[in-house]
């Protein structure tokens, strides 16, 4: 007989577990203080999508999102984690409503932050209208929660990325942490290729996809303030760091964001490719950025990367 294979303590598990590869439930289990997670409307409640059966498609008991509360370094947090493998983590009616309800509670309480572990392709096609509207409600609820003083932190490193309306919700958050495999965009690579031709965007050129939408580019642009290596433990540390960094939301932040984005457009509006942007930012051998290890990249980003702190 061989020794049992799983004799590792939780913190080590978090350090050795890829965030990208883990399920939504595993991400939460390892992100939060051990044993602290309590789910709201768990799978045993069987609150499934009422619409998938119209398309003869299988349902999932949690409709692809796990919401609840737990503790992070002892402090209470609300959490929501999308399961990117179920229908691409897409927003449907129930899926979206769970997150909306969580954010509304955060608004009322004001002091408990919300962590959203994005993993989504955007709107769920089979319930497109409900999904679109759910995203609109979530964007509104994020802003209301922030105005009420709650911090809303997005963690992006799942396999489905953070696309479509998910990208817009991420844009509403107080701050984002992103890992290298994480992607943030509105239109997906295939959609751009279909609309503009393979000459403009070859969706199968994954290096192109990642340097246009991937975590490193988003960090350098300042869309995300913290770059996490792809382990659950790194995301835990990133979440803690962001919670300590984020200030209150207000008009000044929006004005700063307007200036930040206008400056980006002025500075890089003529760039053809991410490498041109990185080069313009003064990075020598910018084409090598995708190859950099997490440590080296974080050092580079801390030196050269922009920030959206107090400007979002």
């Amino acid at each position: 007989m061989i020794a049992p294979l799983k004799d590792i303590i939780p913190a080590e598990r978090a350090r050795s577990t890829s965030f990208n590869e883990a399920s939504a439930r595993t991400r939460l289990e390892l992100l939060l203080d051990a044993g602290s997670f309590v789910e709201f409307i768990g799978p045993e409640q069987r609150e499934v999508s009422p619409h998938l059966r119209i398309f003869d498609l299988p349902e999932q008991f949690d409709d692809g999102i796990v919401v609840g509360h737990g503790r992070l370094d002892g402090s209470p947090v609300f959490v929501a984690a999308q399961e990117g493998r179920f229908m691409g983590g897409a927003f449907g009616e129930v899926h979206g409503a769970k997150l909306t309800g969580l954010l509304r509670a955060a608004r009322e309480i004001g002091s408990i932050p919300v962590l959203i572990l994005f993993d989504t392709g955007g709107v769920r096609l089979q319930e497109a209208n409900a999904g679109e509207l759910a995203i609109a409600e979530i964007m509104r609820a994020v802003m209301e929660a922030r105005i009420a003083g709650a911090k809303v932190i997005g963690l992006i490193g799942g396999r489905s990325g953070c696309y479509g309306g998910g990208g817009l919700i991420a844009g509403c958050c107080s701050a984002l942490a992103v890992s290298e495999p994480g992607r943030i965009a509105v239109s997906g690579p295939e959609v751009i290729e279909t609309n503009r031709g393979v000459e403009e965007f070859d969706s199968r050129d994954r290096a192109l996809v990642w340097r246009t939408m991937g975590g490193k580019h988003r960090r350098l642009l300042g869309a995300a303030d913290v770059f996490a290596d792809d382990t659950v433990q790194d995301f835990r540390e990133a979440a803690l760091e962001l919670l300590s960094l984020v200030g209150p939301f207000g008009l000044d932040g929006l004005r700063a964001e307007q200036a930040r984005l206008a400056d980006r457009l002025r500075s890089f509006g003529g760039c053809e490719d991410a490498v041109d942007i990185w080069t313009a930012e003064g990075i020598a051998h910018a084409e090598r950025v995708p190859e950099l290890s997490a440590d080296l990249f974080i050092a580079l980003a801390n030196r050269i990367g922009r920030t959206s702190r107090d400007a979002r």
């Binding site: 309590v38 409307i41 009422p50 619409h51 119209i54 398309f55 209470p76 009616e93 409503a97 769970k98 909306t100 309800g101 969580l102 509304r104 509670a105 955060a106 309480i109 408990i112 709107v123 497109a128 209208n129 409900a130 679109e132 509207l133 759910a134 995203i135 609109a136 409600e137 964007m139 802003m143 209301e144 479509g164 309306g165 990208g167 817009l168 844009g171 509403c172 943030i184 509105v186 239109s187 959609v191 751009i192 609309n195 965007f201 246009t212 939408m213 642009l221 008009l251 964001e257 307007q258 984005l261 206008a262 980006r264 457009l265 890089f268 509006g269 760039c271 991410a274 959206s308 979002r312």
Partner: protein, 240 residues
């Protein structure tokens, strides 16, 4: 209705609203004397980073100067689906526009969306769906997802999709479907003056609180959303 028709009917006494390559910016005064900031996207223009930053900037500049409501006119394409827009962070530009509108609404500048043409996906989220009240005009044809694309992804025929669309408003394009979802609060008549309908709305503006899920339940379009959201909210509040 065309943009000019809409503006003429809303502001029969004239207005100062310009359409610059699909980006609509300006202001007007209603007969009641209420001044309105007018922004929008016209001529079925795709909403990209260049358009979004102008719209958000225009609204932000008015903060502190103006106090009246903000009208968002919508006849757009989808978000602009290009490498350049995504490279530069289209999601941030669209979210920023939505945030500016939501912030204004919550700070005393009621926002009204007027959907008079097309819109879709990210463009609708950043404009009409980011307002407190979204009004539809007859003939508006929003489409979160068009049926041919859906047919491709779901591998169902157009006929099968159209058949399914008869029994549910949840996926098919169209103003009435969005209305049943609770996304479109009301549909005005184009036979009577829009100005009068606008005055009536402003006189009886719903509260700031987002009630679209309740509306969706009331209209039978989204039967679960409001209850699920309420239940999660209640459970979360108990942890306090």
């Amino acid at each position: 209705m065309t943009l000019d028709d809409v503006l003429a009917s809303l502001f029969p006494d004239g207005h100062d609203v310009r359409n610059d390559e699909g980006v609509v910016l300006g202001s007007a005064v209603l007969r009641s004397g209420t001044g309105m900031l007018v922004v929008g996207i016209a001529d079925r223009t795709a909403l990209g980073i260049d358009e979004a930053i102008r719209l958000s900037g225009y609204v932000l500049e008015s903060v502190g100067r103006d106090t009246g409501p903000i009208l968002v006119l919508v006849d757009s394409d989808s978000q602009r689906m290009s490498k350049r827009d995504e490279l530069l962070g289209l999601n941030e530009f669209l979210a920023h526009l939505a945030k500016v509108l939501i912030h204004a609404d919550m700070n005393g500048r009621a926002t009204i969306g007027l959907l008079y043409g097309h819109s879709a996906a990210g463009a609708l989220l950043a404009t009409g769906l980011a307002t407190r009240v979204l009004v539809g005009l007859p003939g508006a044809d929003p489409a979160v997802m068009d049926l041919p694309s859906m047919a491709k992804v779901t591998k169902l025929s157009m006929e099968a999709l159209e058949e399914k669309a008869k029994s549910t408003p949840v996926f098919a394009p169209g103003l009435s479907n969005l209305a049943r979802m609770g996304a479109v609060h009301m549909t005005w008549s184009s036979a009577v003056s829009l100005a009068g309908q606008m005055e009536a709305l402003l006189a009886d503006m719903p509260a700031v609180q987002d009630k679209r899920d309740a509306l969706g339940k009331e209209r039978g379009g989204r039967v679960k959303a409001v209850d699920i959201a309420e239940r999660v909210r209640d459970l979360a509040l108990q942890t306090r």
